[in-house]
Amino acid sequence: MTPAAARSAPAGRPVSLPRALVSASFLYVWAALLLGAGVLLAFLVTPVDASGLGFTQKIFYFHAPIAETALVAFAVAFVAAVLRLIRPAAPPPGLEVAAVRLGLFFSGLVMITGMIWGRAAWGVWWAWEPRLTTFLLALLVYAAYFVVRGSIDDEQRRETVGSVYAIIAFVTVPVTFFATRYLPDGLHPVVITASEASMETSMALTFVVCTLGMFALLAAVLRSEIALAAGAEALDEVKDLLEER
């Protein structure tokens, strides 16, 4: 790349930070609106649960969407990893790492909301029910993603190994879920689901709004992370060019 060409386009992909920030902000606004609406709906509009759980049941309007968002984040990482292994230039740099990080964050939230729910519903902080167990494993497996990346010095190898691991980790999630049916049952099986059979319209609406809001939040943060990563790469390339002179 000649210095003249580099001056006009410092990175492989044109970096338009203002444009990236605008699209990210757009997504953030949507996320805020949707989640705000979700909170209002959950606490003001939906009926209080009649089956004895009372007010605490409402945490479920957030627990399930967060769980879905975590899985979507891991799926994004999986797709980015597969793309990178097949066509190395295709996925935006930093997408895979950002998606895993966000997936971890949301998984942590799943654990917290799940434990609160479990405490309210069954009086226990922890139970080996399928969803909690699977998310706990996902937490561990994806935390190890960063351990693996952190231990490899060579940049190219780090990316390759990281991508392979992201693929393996994603496959492990459904595998673990199926494995949990072989866990010995406790005194009573604890299942954290809403009874879908009798979901009122307001409840269903709240679910949808919260889910969309979480997805929007995920998209917004991913967009910001990609822009940051591209910006950092562009900065490095400029530094290299300066050094060469």
């Binding site: 351990v147 231990s151 060579d154 190994v161 693929i167 072989y182 866990l183």
Partner: protein, 245 residues
Amino acid sequence: MAGRQLLALLRRDLLLETRRLQTVLSMVIFAVVAMVVVRYGWSGASTGSPGGSGSLGGPGAVGDAGPGGGTVPAAMLWVIFVFAAMLGLSRTFAHEREDECLDGLLLCPVDRVLVFCAKAITNLALLLVMQVVAIPVFGLFFLEGSAVRLLACTPVVLLADIGLASVGTLVATMVLHARSRDLVLPVVLVPLLVPVVIAATSATAAIVDRGAPLADVLGRLGFLAAYDVVFLVLAWGTYDLLMKD
């Protein structure tokens, strides 16, 4: 040609492992010592106090001692196997690390997947040798009456071992060039093996403790077989990339 190369790789591994019995001896000694330690610890807590098995208190905890204490020893057996496996797995490429023998191997016109096959088979063999010693010891220490039932566990052990060996070899390759390899390998490997441990423990406990016939645990055997297939396919697809520089 491929068959001949595979045999050559296996013969080399066999020679190297039997010249210096380091790896296999360490695995056997570790397994037996671990069982001794647990046995001593177990006699203290053997009268099955509820919640005494280390759960966070409450119903549904894995490892409640059933009659005759079946589930907990089975889980312990598989945990010990996993850690003994790790001793062997961390040595997977030990011979290649000396004198850059990995270069020597990569210089040969050999399909990288064959290298995986050879290493995985070697690791499987090491596991089996260790278990041939460890399983009778387990029967002796924990199962007085029902020790014979351990023979019926053979399919479980074989299928689980294939999973351990293939995932283990894949991960060992991923951390081949990593710093603090001995630290990273267990952290990365154990969460991935949790599904195997769950299924194998469940099946072993069913057979040993309740005398269940093999037909009862077919579901678990099928799960283990599926796990093996999934990860073997993953390894086959990604191994070439992992070996490239």
